[in-house]
């Protein structure tokens, strides 16, 4: 079956999963909002109106205003940019590192594999966002440092996944045949092994974006994420919780945005996983 045909089948399977379609649609909307933020936001995210601080939703400010009178909708729209930057940035960098480490580990095996996987074990001993908290606490809060902190652990999952896939694919007959006819190692890896090991990595990357968005928001909530006044959904929740009683919308609205985005990526990831599992069974 040609590559294009199998992709068409995959898309067809995802399209039949209503939750995955809804997730994909929301993900697309989220990406569009982030890209088109300067045109969509009714105000500049930092524009203050101190005399109307903590106001609720109105015709001029659909989602209300924060403590400094900044428009919540505009900050929410611009905040999507941070989430997209961190989500895609973390996953791309982690994937690149994970791919290199996982491929080296799975392909060469032996001592290389042993050393790299022990390093992975060490990093996995730091649960959740603990390592990210530790790193940002010493490097200081900034978007760049958040990316470094999240990638420091983010690559491990991909490396282990790719290593496992490579070990599996390496034993398959078509790879053995390629080895027998003298295919060089780099060609073996890039042409024969990796393309056949990539499906679960795509699924994992979808969940990875959701995890990175939550982690960034969590770090920003703790004051270890992006620097204020850059709008970040986590920092908005953190600021809003001090005014829970008088202005609950400051907390609920950005929280809903995070939850909806994460849920969309999770539904899409679940749909992709189901579709790809079936594909593997057919093979």
């Amino acid at each position: 079956m040609s590559e294009r045909a199998s992709w068409r089948i995959l898309v067809g399977r995802v399209a039949r999963n209503r939750a995955a379609v809804a997730g994909a649609a929301f993900v697309l909307l989220f990406l569009l909002v982030a890209v088109l933020a300067p045109w969509l936001a009714p105000y500049a995210p930092g524009a203050q109106a101190l005399d109307s601080g903590l106001s609720g939703p109105s015709r001029a400010h659909w989602l209300g205003q924060d403590r400094l009178g900044r428009d919540l909708l505009s900050r929410l729209v611009y905040g999507a940019r941070i989430s997209v930057a961190v989500g895609l940035g973390t996953v791309s960098l982690s994937l690149l590192i994970g791919l290199l480490v996982g491929a080296a580990s799975g392909f060469f095996g032996g001592k290389v594999d042993n050393v790299l996987m022990r390093l992975a074990d060490v990093l996995l001993a730091f649960p959740g966002i603990l390592l990210a908290i530790a790193i940002t606490s010493v490097l200081g809060p900034s978007l760049r440092n958040v990316l470094i902190a999240l990638c420091a652990l983010g690559w491990v999952g991909y490396a282990r996944l790719i290593r496992g896939q490579i070990l599996k694919v390496k034993e398959m007959e078509f790879v053995q045949s390629a080895t027998a006819v003298g295919s060089p190692p780099a060609r073996l890896l890039l042409v024969h092994i990796l393309p056949n090991a990539i499906s679960p990595v795509i699924v994992e990357a979808t969940f990875g974006i959701a995890r990175a968005i939550v982690a960034e928001a969590g770090l920003s909530f703790l004051g270890l994420g992006v620097n204020p006044p850059t709008p970040s959904w986590g920092a908005m929740i953190s600021e809003g919780r001090h005014f829970l009683f008088v202005a609950p919308h400051l907390t609920t609205v950005p929280g809903l945005a995070i939850m909806a985005t994460v849920m969309a990526f999770n539904f899409l990831g679940d749909g992709l996983r189901d579709a790809m599992d079936v594909r593997e069974e057919i093979r």
Binding site: D121, A125, G128, L130, I133, V138, G234, M259
Partner: protein, 306 residues
């Protein structure tokens, strides 16, 4: 079993050493002079020198690392830069609060996950199954730094049922435990459902039904025990995530545990205390993972001989 334990312990040694090394290197990642960052630019040169000596930062890195390891071997995690108390003593003082909160969160997670997981599996593809699935997805997607303030808004500020924050009574424990337990409940519920669905299709369940047991009784009496094994494993592996999640939850509810201490130490730039807290949580995670592995091998005899 003894061989398995020894193998796992052998595997644990380099991991622990690696964790210690990463934590040691943290202070060296600080851009600029850590002493100046801790004391501020206005500090006197003599004060800076004294702190540099106290933290052994005036010596070569290799010597510092050796002293760090030696200190750890003696149970010495250094001295808190702000309180002047031993770091270990500060941490141990906060351990009961964090462990109490973790235990309560696990209880919340089990109370939600077990009935919902069992019912979902028994009534697969029913409305209840779909609803539980959606609730689980909601639980997985809801970050605790949002759920916490939301619970405070509804149950403390609007309904006045529980205190907003603090520590001491059972009432204080409810909202933080629900905040921390929700994500775990979602994971366990999904795990239990899929594990139970697998067990239900096994021959021994069919045999129990053939002996006259109702399907529900066969599932509850026979299949449930087996399907709980992977759930227990996931629960153990999630314990570390729970501890790291406590950093956010304890901050929201001013819960006086290790998580709150970590953030207080970060805010005060008390790096020895930050190192101590991070190390403590990581080592606890490694130990709980080991115990989970051992428990799993105990519960599932097939593992023992691998």
């Amino acid at each position: 079993m003894r061989g398995y334990l020894l193998a796992r312990l052998r595997h644990m040694v380099p991991v622990v050493l690696g964790v210690v090394t990463v934590v040691f290197l943290l202070i060296h990642l600080i851009p600029g002079d850590p002493v100046e960052i801790m004391l501020g630019e206005s500090a006197l040169a003599a004060q800076k020198e004294e702190l540099r000596r106290e933290l052994h930062l005036d010596r070569p890195v290799v010597i510092q690392y050796g002293e760090f390891l030696l200190g750890l071997a003696k149970g010495d995690l250094g001295t808190s830069f702000r309180s002047r108390e031993p770091v270990l003593r500060e941490i141990l003082r906060r351990v009961p609060a964090t462990f109490l909160l973790s235990a309560a969160s696990i209880l919340v997670a089990l109370l939600v996950a077990v009935p919902l997981g069992v019912l979902s599996a028994l009534k697969q593809h029913s409305l209840l199954d779909h609803l539980s699935g959606f609730l689980a997805m909601l639980g997985l997607s809801m970050p605790n730094f949002w759920l916490g303030p939301l619970l405070i808004l509804i149950f403390s500020l609007e309904l006045g049922l529980f205190p907003v924050s603090g520590y001491g009574t059972a009432g204080h424990l409810v909202l933080p435990a629900v905040t921390m337990g929700t994500g775990m409940a979602a994971i366990l519920m999904r795990m239990l459902r899929s594990s139970l669905l697998e067990e239900i299709r096994q021959d021994y369940v069919r045999a129990a039904c053939a002996r006259g047991l109702s399907r529900r009784a066969a599932v509850v009496r026979h299949a449930l025990a087996n399907s709980l094994i992977p759930v227990l494993t996931v629960m153990g592996l999630q314990f570390g995530a729970l501890l790291s999640g406590s950093i956010i939850t304890e901050t929201i509810f001013s819960w006086p545990g290790i998580g709150r201490l970590t953030i207080q130490a970060i805010e005060a730039r008390d790096y020895p205390l930050v190192q101590g807290c991070i190390l403590f949580i990581a080592i606890c995670t490694v130990i709980v993972n080991l115990l989970t592995d051992l428990l799993y091998s105990r519960l599932d005899p097939r593992i023992r001989y691998e």
